[in-house]
C-alpha cells in the first residue's frame, strides 16, 4: 500500500496522468464544442481512431508536425462529412455518428493492412515518428524549487501544452466572443438565433469540423506519444469516455477539463497498478473509468430528477 502512495504522489505519476489525459482532454473539448451547438458528436471514437492511423502513416514519410496536422485534418474532414450527411441530407446525426465509428473500426484495419503489406494488428514494421516532448530541464537552475519544477513540468508532449492552451481557447471562444454566443444559442434554442438571422446549420457544421479536428489531434497524441505506432482499436473507448466527461463536467470547459483529468488519473492508475498488485488483473482496473462514468451519469440524472420534482414537474 505504501508503495502505491509513493507512486501516486510522485512526479513521474503526475507526468503519466498528463500523458493519459491529453488525448482524452482533446476529444472531450471536441465533444463539448459539438454538444453545446446541439450536434451531439457520438463519432469522437471513430474520428480519433482515424486520426491515430492517419498520423502514424503520414509520420513515416513526413516530419512529426505534418503528421499531427494530418491527424487533425482527418478528424476535421470526418466532422464535415458528418455535417453533410446530417444537415444537408437530413440523416439522423446519431446514426451518422455510429456509421463513422463502424467505418473507422473496419476501415483502419483495412488501411493498416494496405500500408504494412498485410499486417492487420499493428504498425510495428512501419518507421513512424513520435511527437517530441518539451524539455524544461533548464528550470533546474532556479534555486530551491528548480528540481521540483523540472520533475513536474519537463517531459510532457508538445501536444499536452497545446491541449492546455486549447482548453483556455475554447473557454474564451465560448464565453468571450460573439460566435461563442451564437454557438451556445444554437445549441440551446435554435429558433432564437434563426430569427436573428444566424445560419444555424452553418454554426453546427463548423462545430462538428472543430470537434473532429480536436478528436483527430487527440488521436495523433495517442499514436505518436502515448504509444508510438498504430494498433487496431487503440482508442479503446476514449471517444465515449470523452462524451461522459463532457456531461460530468457540466458542459463547461473547466468542468470538462477536471473530468478528463479524473478519467486520465484512473487510466494512469491502470498503467502503474498492475506492476504493484500482481493479483489484480489490469483489465479490471481498466474498467474503472467506465464504471465512474456510469456512476457519475446516474448521479447526475438523479440530481436532475430531484430538481425537476422540486419544480413540481412529474
Amino acid at each position: 500500500m505504501t508503495e502505491l502512495f509513493l507512486t501516486v504522489f510522485s512526479a513521474a505519476f503526475f507526468v503519466t496522468i498528463i500523458r493519459t489525459t491529453t488525448p482524452l482532454l482533446l476529444a472531450t473539448m471536441g465533444g463539448l464544442v459539438a454538444d453545446l451547438s446541439g450536434a451531439l458528436n457520438v463519432a469522437l471514437e471513430g474520428m480519433m481512431l482515424i486520426g491515430c492511423l492517419t498520423a502514424v502513416i503520414v509520420s513515416v514519410y513526413a516530419p512529426w508536425y505534418v503528421a499531427v496536422g494530418a491527424g487533425l485534418g482527418a478528424g476535421a474532414l470526418l466532422g464535415l462529412v458528418m455535417a453533410f450527411f446530417s444537415f444537408r441530407l437530413k440523416a439522423d446525426i446519431i446514426l451518422v455518428g455510429f456509421a463513422i465509428n463502424i467505418l473507422a473500426a473496419g476501415g483502419t484495419v483495412f488501411a493498416l493492412a494496405l500500408a504494412t503489406g498485410g499486417d492487420k494488428g499493428t504498425s510495428i514494421n512501419l518507421q513512424s515518428k513520435a511527437v517530441p516532448s518539451v524539455d524544461l530541464s533548464f528550470l533546474d537552475a532556479i534555486p530551491g524549487v528548480g528540481p521540483v519544477l523540472t520533475a513536474f513540468l519537463s517531459g510532457h508532449s508538445v501536444l499536452s501544452w497545446i491541449a492546455a492552451f486549447i482548453v483556455f481557447a475554447v473557454w474564451y471562444f465560448l464565453f468571450r466572443t460573439p460566435w461563442g454566443l451564437w454557438l451556445r444559442g444554437v445549441g440551446e434554442y435554435p429558433a432564437a438565433p434563426e430569427a436573428a438571422g444566424i445560419p444555424v446549420n452553418k454554426v453546427r457544421t463548423w462545430s462538428l469540423i472543430v470537434s473532429g479536428a480536436l478528436a483527430g489531434l487527440g488521436g495523433a497524441q495517442l499514436a505518436m506519444f502515448n504509444y508510438v505506432g498504430f494498433t487496431r482499436d487503440m482508442t479503446a473507448g476514449r471517444g465515449f469516455i470523452a462524451l461522459g466527461a463532457v456531461l460530468l463536467g457540466a458542459r463547461h470547459p473547466v468542468g470538462a477539463l477536471i473530468a478528463a483529468l479524473l478519467f486520465g488519473a484512473f487510466e494512469a492508475l491502470a498503467v502503474v497498478m498492475p506492476g504493484l498488485f500482481n493479483e489484480a488483473p489490469a483489465e479490471l482496473i481498466r474498467m474503472i473509468p467506465f464504471i465512474v462514468t456510469i456512476a457519475a451519469l446516474i448521479l447526475f440524472s438523479v440530481r436532475a430528477q430531484r430538481a425537476l420534482a422540486l419544480r413540481g414537474v412529474k
Partner: protein
C-alpha cells in the same frame, strides 16, 4: 405614399392550403395598423411573408414605394422590419442583453463587448420606455417582460416597422396596458406598428387603421374611428356575432370536487397556493379570478394531477384523488383543457386523429390486443371534426399545420367528446377568434348544463363573468373574495380584490363558498 404595401399576395402551403389569396395591405408611416380576422384567416402567413420567412406564390411588396423581395428574415431586418412572434424566440438561459444583441453583437476584434451591449440595451430601453433589467436570464422573467425583450431585439436592429403577432394573447390585462403605452411611445418616435389581435376592444383602443381578413382575402380597410365593435365583428365573420351564452337552471346539490387545505410550492420555493379550500358542484361553473400568477394555474394543475402538491387533499367524485395518477383521475370523469395547448394540450407533430384519441388509449374501442384500431380512430376523428367544426385538411393532417383557434378546438373536442364529471379549464379562448370563442363558450356551458362541475380560470374577466355561476378571487394563493355571479357584478369590483386592495371578511364570502 404608403410606407409598406402588399399587393395581391397569394400563398398556398405545400399540402394545398390557400392561406393568402390576393391579399392587399397598405401601411402608412407612423400609424398603428391592426390586422384582424378569424383563426386561419391568413394573418400570420401574411406577416411571415412581410418578414421573409415565407415566400409568396404571387404578388409584390413595396417599401417606400420601391418593390422589394425578402428571401429570408435577415434581408427583412436589413430593410428595417422587425417581428415579434407569438411564440417567442429567446434563448432561455441567456441574459436579456445577450438575447437582444444576439446576431449583431458589438465587438472589438474577436471579443464580444459586453459592456457596450449592456449600455446599448439600456439606452434603447430608456428611449422607448420599455424598462427591462438587461442582466437576468430571460427564463426567469414573466411573459410580459420577455415580450419586451423581443421588441427591444427588433429596435436594436433599427426596425422602422414592428410587426407584433398576437402580442396581447399572452398578457394579463395590466401588461396589455403597459404594452400599449410602449406602442404609443414607439409611434410618437416615428416607428410604425403592425398589430394582430382578436379582442376587438383592444384593437379599437390602440390602432389607427384596421385591415380585416377573412378566409385568405382582405375584406376591407377601415379607420378605427369610423367603426364600432359590432360593425367590425360583422365584417370579420360575415355575420352578426354576439358573445353571450344562456345558462340553464341546473341541479347544483351534488359536490363533485372537494379541495381542502391545498398548498403548492413552486421551483423557487415560494408558496403559490397557500391553503386553498374550495368545492365545485355538479352543474356549476366556478370561476377563479386573479391576476396571472396568483395560484389559479397551479390549482388547476394540482387537481389535474400534473403538479406535485405540498399539502392538502383533493377529492373527486367522493374518492380521495390526492395521490392518484392522471389516468386514474381521468377514469373518475376528469377532463382538462390546459392553458398551453402547444406544450401541454397537444402533440403538435402527431395527426389530428391521433391527438383526438390520446387520452383514450386504454379503451378497447381504439386499442385491441395492444394494437391501434386505425379505422375506429379515423372514424372518431371524422365525427369530432364535424361536431366541433374544426377547420383542417383531414384527420391525417398534423396539428402543427392548424391555426391557433383550430388547435384549441382539437383540445376541446378531445376533452368534451364525452360528458365529463369534472372539467378543468384554463384560458380556453386565448388567441381564439370571435366565432370560435362563442363556440367554445357554448360547448363549456353545454357540459355544465348536462351536469359537469367546471372549474374555470381565465385572464379575460369578460369570459369569467359570462360563464361562471360563482367567482372566487385569488390573491397570492388565497381566496380574498367570493361572489355569486349576478348581472350587477362588474369587472371593476373584481379588480379591487384582484390587486389585493381589499379583502372580504369570512362572513361576506360565506354565501358564495359552498
Amino acid at each position: 405614399m404608403a410606407l409598406l404595401e402588399a399587393i395581391g399576395i397569394s400563398k398556398t402551403y405545400p399540402g394545398g392550403v390557400v392561406a393568402n389569396d390576393g391579399v392587399n395591405l397598405v401601411v402608412e408611416s407612423g400609424e398603428v395598423h391592426a390586422v384582424v380576422g378569424e383563426n386561419g384567416a391568413g394573418k400570420s402567413t401574411l406577416m411571415k411573408i412581410l418578414f421573409g420567412i415565407e415566400q409568396p406564390n404571387a404578388g409584390a411588396l413595396m417599401l417606400d414605394g420601391k418593390p422589394v423581395r425578402f428571401a429570408n428574415p435577415r434581408e427583412a431586418i436589413e430593410a428595417g422590419i422587425g417581428m415579434v412572434f407569438q411564440h417567442f424566440s429567446l434563448v432561455p438561459s441567456f441574459s436579456v442583453y445577450e438575447n437582444v444583441v444576439l446576431g449583431s453583437e458589438p465587438r472589438s476584434g474577436i471579443r464580444f463587448e459586453r459592456h457596450k451591449a449592456i449600455a446599448e440595451v439600456k439606452a434603447i430601453s430608456d428611449r422607448f420606455r420599455l424598462s427591462v433589467d438587461p442582466m437576468p436570464a430571460v427564463m426567469t422573467l414573466p411573459v410580459g417582460q420577455q415580450q419586451r425583450v423581443e421588441i427591444l431585439k427588433a429596435l436594436y436592429r433599427n426596425a422602422r416597422i414592428l410587426i407584433l403577432d398576437e402580442p396581447t394573447a399572452v398578457l394579463a390585462p395590466q401588461e396589455v396596458q403597459e404594452l400599449f403605452v410602449a406602442i404609443r411611445s414607439l409611434v410618437a418616435q416615428g416607428k410604425t406598428v403592425i398589430f394582430i389581435a382578436h379582442k376587438l376592444p383592444e384593437v379599437l383602443e390602440i390602432s389607427d387603421t384596421i385591415t380585416v381578413m377573412r378566409q385568405g382575402k382582405t375584406v376591407g380597410q377601415v379607420k378605427a374611428k369610423e367603426v364600432t365593435e359590432k360593425s367590425l365583428a360583422a365584417m370579420m365573420v360575415g355575420r352578426e356575432v354576439t358573445l353571450r351564452v344562456e345558462r340553464k337552471a341546473t341541479d347544483q346539490s351534488q359536490r363533485v370536487a372537494e379541495i381542502e387545505g391545498l398548498r403548492v410550492v413552486n421551483a423557487r420555493g415560494t408558496e403559490v397556493v397557500a391553503g386553498l379550500d374550495l368545492n365545485v358542484h355538479a352543474g356549476e361553473v366556478v370561476g377563479l379570478v386573479g391576476v396571472e400568477g396568483n395560484g389559479q394555474a397551479e390549482t388547476l394543475e394540482a387537481v389535474a394531477g400534473l403538479r406535485a402538491i405540498a399539502a392538502g387533499t383533493i377529492r373527486i367524485a367522493d374518492k380521495d384523488a390526492t395521490a392518484m395518477s392522471v389516468l386514474d383521475r381521468r377514469a373518475l370523469g376528469l377532463a382538462s383543457i390546459p392553458e398551453d395547448r402547444i406544450a401541454r394540450g397537444l402533440a403538435t407533430g402527431a395527426t389530428v386523429a391521433e391527438n383526438l384519441v390520446a387520452t383514450r388509449l386504454n379503451e378497447t374501442r381504439y386499442v385491441r390486443n395492444g394494437l391501434l384500431d386505425l379505422k375506429a380512430i379515423k372514424a372518431n376523428a371524422l365525427q369530432l371534426i364535424e361536431r366541433f367544426s374544426i377547420r383542417v385538411g383531414g384527420p391525417a393532417s398534423t396539428v402543427d399545420t392548424l391555426s391557433g383557434g383550430n388547435m384549441q378546438k382539437v383540445v376541446v373536442a378531445r376533452e368534451l367528446a364525452e360528458q365529463p364529471k369534472l372539467l378543468l379549464v384554463n384560458q380556453p379562448t386565448r388567441g381564439v377568434d370571435l366565432g370560435a370563442t362563442q363556440f367554445i363558450w357554448r360547448t363549456i356551458t353545454d357540459a355544465r348544463d348536462a351536469g359537469a362541475a367546471v372549474l374555470l380560470s381565465s385572464a379575460d374577466l369578460g369570459e369569467l363573468l359570462a360563464l361562471s355561476d360563482r367567482l372566487l378571487v385569488l390573491y397570492r394563493g388565497r381566496i380574498v373574495a367570493a361572489f355569486v355571479n349576478t348581472p350587477d357584478l362588474t369587472p371593476e369590483t373584481l379588480g379591487t380584490y384582484m390587486l389585493g386592495l381589499s379583502t372580504q371578511t369570512a362572513d361576506e364570502m360565506k354565501a358564495a363558498l359552498r
